[in-house]
């Protein structure tokens, strides 16, 4: 318990400076690294003909994002197909078959990192670097860029300019991802994560048998996997393997790597919206000015609007973590029955060095921040412990992946002000803008896509023989495996109930489609909402305005999120994990 509390308190301290740094980059403000990095960026802009000052409308921005992602996918697909070439391929890995390459390339471009292959036997070092590591950087940078554009729209400094996609993509890569990765990567090597290009080593053991030990550029992949909330492991067993995550310190480094930037996005949002507000206030004539009120310390650190969003996400996160930790500590009654002590909790699928506490924490973080890396096998979690990661992915707004979680949470905020507006009979407002028919339609559409993808494809899988063939655990847990796979795909998470035999044509194609739609449809719709809101004029705050910067709004937000999730997902959860729990404990 103590280690969980301390880990989270340290997080709250660390996230503030990182949020400040990220805000400076998003808002184009000065940072200490500018003298060097301005020059690097300048060279890139010059070579590629990008004019970083040339703004884009939301449509141009979305087109540039999708176009660039498409170019990256084509390139990556080609490399996967020809990876058997003897180039950085000391272990003689074969080329990847088309359906699996299709799934893999969508998976990594969409920041999902669902893996239907095992890295140790399915990818050459060249593919690990030029496809996997490369895409881990650019998919994270793309998601973050979309989020920054979205925030610019909401902050409303201009009527149509959401920024330049290419400049955002380059800046986030050179100023955040690359330097953080280099520093974090070195820390991981220090803890014992291999980083080399040698072939796998075979040693003769003390007993005269042999053991094959995996090698490769593991640390480089490992650090960006977490920083970019990607989640795809170098090896099949991901961050549970001691090569990827050898000590509890490496575990903490990986945890913070995935938690810091999504949290920082919320701070960036709070500060940029606050800037827009202040600018707006300045333009007003003195008699219209609202009385200046003193900002508290949290409001200054997180931004007023960022604070309530952060609080709502924090509540959702803590609720998940508590349930997961409690459930895992209860152990497995089936094993208690045959006389195996469960005093240390359920240890199947977990590593001794992490125990139940660090495993439950990692599980909740990886699905809340939609990374998808695992340090224990989620398929082996107790029913309720395994329901938590499933639920966090279904909510898909508890911090969420790079930028995207914040965008989803803003949709829920819009929904929340709309519902509150209906109750008191007023036109809802958010961030000083009227929320009207067009925004509500788009919001409803964006929110409904997620459950629609998960539930309809799960229905398809359990209704067809090809889908059922993947299920490996009997009973209610089989349905959980299917739900988990599509929830993970739609939320662009990438973790799995890994027992699922998913490298088949059916699973490769369907999850590929779900990942693609789950990524690009919401991003385009969210940018459209921002584009529509930024054209509107600010309205003056009045006594009837619902204040969205308060703790009570955060609570309303939590309820809206849970109610929506209950309405859409409860029947499926009842048939899966809840039924399994009742049979096991019944």
């Amino acid at each position: 318990m103590l280690q969980l509390a301390l880990t989270l308190i340290l997080y709250l301290i660390l996230v503030i400076p990182v949020g400040r740094y990220l805000y400076h980059i998003a808002a184009g403000k000065h940072t200490f690294a500018d003298p060097v990095l301005d020059r690097v960026d300048g060279i890139i802009y010059k070579l590629s003909g990008v004019d970083p000052r040339k703004g884009m409308s939301w449509k141009q921005y979305a087109m540039a994002l999708i176009g660039t992602n498409a170019v990256m996918m084509v390139l990556g697909y080609l490399i996967l197909r020809i990876q058997s070439l003897p180039l950085l391929n000391p272990n003689g890995i074969e080329g990847m078959d088309p359906a699996l390459a299709f799934n893999t390339i969508i998976s990594f471009m969409t920041n999902t990192n669902l893996q239907h292959y095992a890295g140790e036997s399915g990818l050459s070092y060249l593919s690990q670097m030029l496809v996997i590591i490369f895409m881990m950087f650019v998919s994270a940078a793309s998601g973050y860029a979309a989020c920054v554009a979205f925030i610019r729209g909401l902050a409303g400094k201009s009527k149509d300019n959401v920024g330049n996609f290419f400049a955002d993509l380059v800046r986030i890569t050179t100023r955040v991802l690359l330097p953080f990765s280099l520093a974090g990567g070195l820390l991981l090597v220090w803890q014992g994560v291999p980083q080399n290009f040698s072939e796998n080593v075979v040693v003769q053991t003390l007993e005269g048998t042999y053991q094959v030990l995996a090698m490769g550029p593991v640390a480089a992949l490992e650090i960006i996997k977490h920083l970019g909330t990607n989640g795809g492991g170098f090896f099949g067993a991901n961050s549970a393997t001691p090569m990827e995550n050898p000590t509890v310190l490496s575990n903490l480094i990986e945890l913070y790597s995935m938690m810091l930037l999504p949290g920082a996005c919320v701070i960036t949002f709070g500060k940029m919206v606050g800037d827009g507000r202040r600018q707006q206030q300045k333009n007003k004539t003195p008699e219209n000015l609202l009385p200046a009120h003193r900002e508290g310390i949290t409001a200054r650190l997180f931004g007023q609007e960022g604070r309530s969003i952060f609080l709502a996400m924090g509540i959702l996160f803590l609720a998940g973590l508590s349930l997961c930790y409690w459930a895992e500590m209860q152990g497995n009654p089936a094993l208690a029955e045959i006389g195996l002590s469960q005093a240390a909790g359920s240890m199947e699928g977990k590593e001794v060095r992490f125990g139940v506490a660090q495993s439950a924490l990692f599980t909740t973080v990886t699905t809340s921040f939609t990374t998808g890396t695992v340090n224990n096998m989620h398929d082996t979690l107790t029913p309720l412990g395994g329901m938590v990661p499933l639920l966090q992915m279904m909510l898909n707004c508890v911090f969420g992946g790079k930028g995207v979680g914040l965008m989803n949470m803003i949709l829920y905020a819009i929904l929340a002000v709309f519902i509150c507006g209906l109750m008191v009979g007023r036109t809802p407002e958010y961030l000083g803008k009227k929320i009207e028919g067009r925004e509500m339609k788009l919001t409803a559409l964006a929110i409904i896509i997620h459950p629609l993808l998960i539930l309809s494809f799960s229905a398809l899988a359990v209704a067809t023989a090809a889908g059922q063939a993947g299920v490996t655990n009997p009973g209610f847990h089989g349905l959980s495996q299917v739900l988990y796979e599509y929830a993970s795909s739609a939320a662009n998470n990438g973790s799995g109930f890994e027992g699922l035999a998913d490298n088949t044509l059916f699973w490769n194609i369907t999850t590929g489609i779900v990942m693609f739609l789950g990524r690009y449809l919401p991003i385009v719709i969210q940018l459209a909402i921002a584009g529509s809101l930024m054209k509107k004029n600010y309205i003056n705050e009045s006594a009837g305005t619902l204040r969205t910067s308060t703790a009570s709004f955060a609570v309303i937000l939590v309820f809206v999120v849970y109610i929506f999730a209950a309405l859409t997902f409860f029947p499926a959860l009842a048939l899966g994990p809840i039924s399994e729990h009742l049979t096991l404990w019944g």
Binding site: Q3, L6, I44, S48, G49, V50, M63, G67, T68, V71, A118, E120, S121, I133, V138, F166, T173, L182, W190, G192, P194, Q195, N196, S198, V201, V203, T205, L206, L213, A214, M215, A219, I224, G236, A240, T241, P246, T247, V248, N251, L335, I338, L340, S341, A344, S346, M347, E348, G349, E351, V352, R353, V374, N375, M377, T472, P474, G475, H477, F497
Partner: protein, 224 residues
Amino acid sequence: MNETTNKSTFFHSLRQSLVVTLILLLLCGFVFPVLLSGISVVIFPSQAGGSLVYAGGQAVGSATVGQDFAEPYFMKGRPSACNYNTYSLDEQGNPYYNDGSEFSGLRTGSDNYAPSNPALTERVEADIEAFLEANPDVKREDIPADLMTASGSGLDPHITPESARIQVPALAAASGLSEEELEQIVEANTEGKLFGIFGEETVNVLGVNLDIAHAMGLVGDVNK
């Protein structure tokens, strides 16, 4: 806007997409991992190379990766779905695991048995019986859970100190070492929690077995 400017904007933005992609491919996919390798090999040469451990000058394993042990005088680790990638060769040179099944190449992972899966209970039951047979002094309810459950990676190098201690009497009988000596070896290979707070107490099984082998005179100097 006429058609030619439309076309030229399209090609202009395609060029931006292509060139930015290629530059980032080079920077993130190649320069970064190579640079990290370069620095790592200078500052942390042992870790970068996989933290190999040596006995009598020969590499016998990795400090971070578990191994499958069969000899009665060696401490046992947790069950592994991939047998810790440890194998032997038969007369024809075909690799096979200690349990006799065919070696299936480098793997990581677990069986992914759900808690409600009967296969899990069967596997644990069989392991408990085998363990009780090898450790006749141990009572069933005293076996710690980690020793009978498979790790997520299949390569867990650790067991809990309790799991190490209950193996000591049987190890003493098989190795000829005294229980006190074995307790000391376990103690020397136990690592506490980070700052006394984070993580769990662990015993490195390969570390223990290297020390046992050294104490029994089976190997020369050990370098962990």
